[in-house]
Symmetry: C2
Subunit: 582 residues, 2 copies
């Protein structure tokens, strides 16, 4: 037997017991004739003691151990003279009588501490060592607990977990698919699913009523920060429901997770906000409402005073930053640089300081103190506040820039406490989005999203105004989940496909099986999907989803630990009837 106990469980009640422990050597300290070893496993640390005077040979063996050696040790539990209140096992230590080295270890390339000296790259290359660190392991333990609780909740609500296939069919709409050449069908390819969307709808047609799946999905995108080519969704779908049913049930799930994983009991219903309101008030479809600093439109106040930038703008708006009037020139320049970054794309930043003498703005020469007084009033600003203003020729684009500025300021002012969670539903998304490049409308969610019944008439007259029965769950400015009520009526589905420019052949080719399935009694249905990686990161209070994935890939989609992707044998290529065109 390798152990009788783990390194995390012995307490003062175990005094005098003979125990066998196994684990890794975290630390060795020699003091006088004593050697102390912190033995580590997943469950904790236990101190081992070797006494030169009692057993010189054994003590000498202990002195020759190295960091991360794997050992097995037999000894007696004793009370520590020098207790460690920070450690659950801190009241006891093991007087060792027997020591076996199970495996040696080379010196690890970085320290296995919460604050490690290893950089990102080396930690990824030696991920199996990085995973020994408490911080990383705790995230993955949280991930495990979250999936257990998600399943507990959904199982309790009558959901069935059904596995949908991974080798499916490529659909060029949407993001790019990863494809898998079929050896048995030369020249043909499977695709890896971007989501089980069509399959979960088929399961509704099949009468499964309530489906969920915690499932890997794949997207071959140029990886932006914090995207992974493979990611995990909590994918759900329900039949015979309206939007309200879905929101209630999944708000319940989120509350269940907060209660069981964070000990937070959320009594209040989640805030509901229309997409239009979110854009107008926060410049974002995923507003962070942990702090206020709402956008205020200033067209009435600032337009028509001879400042041509504003006079020509389609939108002027600002935010009021409490107590930030004291920002230095340098800080304001930094903010100007921030909004001018290509990712944000604003042309410049106008500011106005509220101080005892009035309002001092960077565009003073165009505005009277009276107008600036109206500006102050528009924000109900007070002495010591700073007003920041952007303008632009595209309303929502400018609102988004202002929304980004709002988040940047909240970061700088530390208004985004990671242990405070502000949840809301964003509802009433537009069904379509106009793309000026291709001069056509696209489905914002996907082509199966149901329009609001009262908006269907607008399809012919003003499609941009058609609202969808779609909803996102947003927590702390992160879209953790989203979904919609689906179209279950074949005629309406055909109309939407037509509107989106799918020819009948193309719709048939890509979604024929779904369209066909809908002919055989499709029930009303809807659902949503959570991004598990993001949800775990949020609960763990970490910024990157990578910290919550056991073996993540880097920004080039590469696993640097196993060195994948890689070249394959020519034999393999031949079998697949493929050649590489360089």
């Amino acid at each position: 037997m390798f152990r009788t106990h783990t390194c995390g469980e012995l307490r003062i009640a175990d005094l005098k017991r003979t125990v066998t422990l196994a684990g890794w050597v975290q630390r060795i300290r020699r003091m006088g004739g004593m050697t102390f070893i912190d033995l580590r496993d997943r469950y904790g640390l236990t101190q081992l003691v070797f006494n030169q005077e009692i057993d010189a040979v054994l003590c000498e063996e202990a002195n020759h151990l190295g960091r991360e050696y794997v050992i097995r040790t037999i000894g007696t539990v004793a009370e520590r003279s020098n207790k460690n209140p920070h450690l659950p096992t801190g009241d006891i230590e093991i007087i060792v009588s027997e020591l076996t080295v199970l495996n040696v270890s080379a010196t690890p390339p970085f320290t296995i501490e919460d604050d490690t000296d290893g950089g990102d790259d080396i930690r990824m290359q030696y991920r199996y060592i990085d995973l020994r660190r408490n911080a990383v392991r705790a995230n993955l333990e949280l991930r495990h607990k979250m999936t257990i609780e998600v399943r507990r909740y959904l199982d309790g609500q009558g959901f069935l977990e059904v596995e949908t296939p991974v080798l499916i069919k490529s659909t060029p709409e949407g993001a790019r698919d990863f494809v898998v050449p079929s050896r048995m069908n030369p020249g043909q390819f499977y695709a890896l699913p971007q989501s089980p969307q069509t399959f979960k709808q088929l399961l509704m047609v099949a009468g499964f009523d309530r489906y969920f799946q915690i499932v890997k999905c794949f997207r071959d995108e140029d990886l932006r920060a914090d995207r992974q080519p493979e990611f995990t969704q909590i994918d759900c779908e329900m039949s015979f429901v309206e939007q309200e049913d879905v929101l209630q049930l999944f708000e319940g799930m989120s509350k269940h997770l907060f209660r069981t994983l964070k000990g937070i009991d959320m009594q209040e219903p989640f805030v509901r906000m229309t997409w239009h309101d979110a854009m107008k008030r926060y410049g974002s479809d995923k507003p962070d409402i942990r702090f206020d600093m709402q956008l205020v439109e200033l067209m009435d106040v600032l337009k028509g005073h001879g400042f041509s930038l504003f006079d020509e703008a389609a939108y002027i708006g600002g935010i009021c930053v409490k107590g930030a009037a004291a920002f230095t020139r340098k800080q304001l320049d930094e903010l100007t640089d921030f909004v001018k970054r290509p990712q944000i794309g604003a042309k410049g930043l106008v500011y106005a300081r509220i101080d005892d003498d009035g309002v001092k703005s960077s565009v003073d020469k165009f505005y009277t103190q009276e107008t600036l007084g109206l500006l102050k009033a528009a924000f109900r600003a007070q002495t010591g506040d700073l007003i920041l203003i952007l303008c632009g020729d595209n309303v929502n684009r400018t609102r988004k820039q202002l929304g980004e500025l709002r988040l940047e300021l909240a970061n700088r002012l530390r208004l985004r406490d990671k242990e405070h969670f502000a949840c809301l539903w964003v509802v009433d998304f537009p069904l379509f989005e106009w793309d000026s490049d291709t001069q056509r409308f696209y489905a914002i969610h996907h082509p199966f999203t149901s329009p609001k019944p009262e908006d269907i008439a607008l399809l012919d007259t003003d499609p941009a105004q058609v609202r969808a029965n779609a909803y996102d769950m947003v927590i702390n400015g992160v879209e953790v989940g989203g979904g919609s009520i689906r179209i279950h009526d074949s005629a309406l589905q055909r109309r939407i496909f037509q509107f989106l420019g799918f020819s009948e052949e193309k719709a048939e080719e890509q979604f024929g099986f779904l369209i066909n399935a809908f002919r055989f009694g499709a029930p009303p249905h809807g659902g949503l999907a959570y991004g598990l990686d993001r949800l775990v990161s949020l609960f763990a209070g970490v910024d990157s989803i990578r910290d919550c994935i056991a073996f993540p890939k880097n920004n080039m989609g590469r696993d640097v630990m196993i060195d994948a992707p890689s070249r394959i044998d020519d034999v393999q290529l031949d079998e697949l009837s493929l050649t590489i065109s360089e």
Copy 2:
């Protein structure tokens, strides 16, 4: 609201309640002035009643519904005059006052009954309709429950579920990988995992101690009957364990599943049988021990009597079939044909009937009644029994043929009751298997399997005799799971690689990251993996794993419902730097 209740929950206690139900029209019957509809959902059937005399218009609407129409109905719960004791809702019916058609349905291509009139192909093409059948849905409900219980058990035992990557690195050893071209790394490929083997071992190196995952795996094989290119494993690994620890823990899991899913309380420990014994007594490394009919070696009895086929054989053995002496000539010919099929490969079948007059065999002229008496005694055969004998020049190959014959007879004699479960562990597998084609040894499990410490010395002298710390769980003749204690010692691992003919470069190229990881303190570890699809089939009492998979593929690896795999756009190929060589 679409419904207040499901179609499975109303009882006599609900009498007079006004309820709203929604579901599919299973059946319409008109009797006199009444119309009866069986309304179906996942949860059951409820009878709806329409009365011509009370509401002629509504009744007429009901008469116009078709099979599989989706409807919503409001009505009052009433007691049935003609109760149906086979239905949980059979005591009540709904007197309908309001009816809404939510969706129409074309006539389904086959009936939605337990005994459907649809053939395999059409049911696969319309799988979403096939899934409406109770029998198929019940299998998937069982699958859901099984994964819930597996997670409950393993979570309770301190296991963490960790997701390992799906886009990994190709390793040409073992079965063929599915590969995924990388657009961002032209000419390079990911592979889909055949199992998370190396990752779970890395998690042990990472100190995760107890890992599991219910995970899709992939194998690009020429599909034999009942194989799927994607399949699901319950994959598990533990640190600081010996074989006995693994067997105990997973025997516990299987018992937990039998108790919670089948109501079977297995008190006795599972039978343990060495691989050698299993081959000798059952001609199989996955013996079905629900029935006896063990193999008996007959070299001593039948060799050297002038029957050249036997005299030249390396193995002669037989089985005794109780009460089968009355088998007709035709039945015996069928059995002879059976063993001569290329899949079995025997040259012929010798039989001996035990009747009141003695033993009558097909090779009477070579053997005296005295010898035949010894034959009878070898089986402790009785009047009315039938002895079937095979011989061959390869001991284990002949045993396997006899094992197949044994199963065939058990099938014919209905000795394989699907509701009776006989579980065992097969242990002490050989570590290597000699391949006469390539004239080399292969690892039977995989190259990370630990030899038994006491057999390591045989590596140099008699490798075929080296036993592995490997084990399979077998239920009713099906290998439901298997695994091994792994090698955690780098030197031993190098030696095994060398023995298997991996050059240092090749081992480094393919498993470098694992070999490297083992340098940093790998703990002793071992584990196993269950085939979920097969385990569910076994519990469901169905023969094919396809019946327990929501959307299976056919024998050509094709999903006939969505028509995958398929051609992809040339643009996609270009992006992947690939051309198809026809």
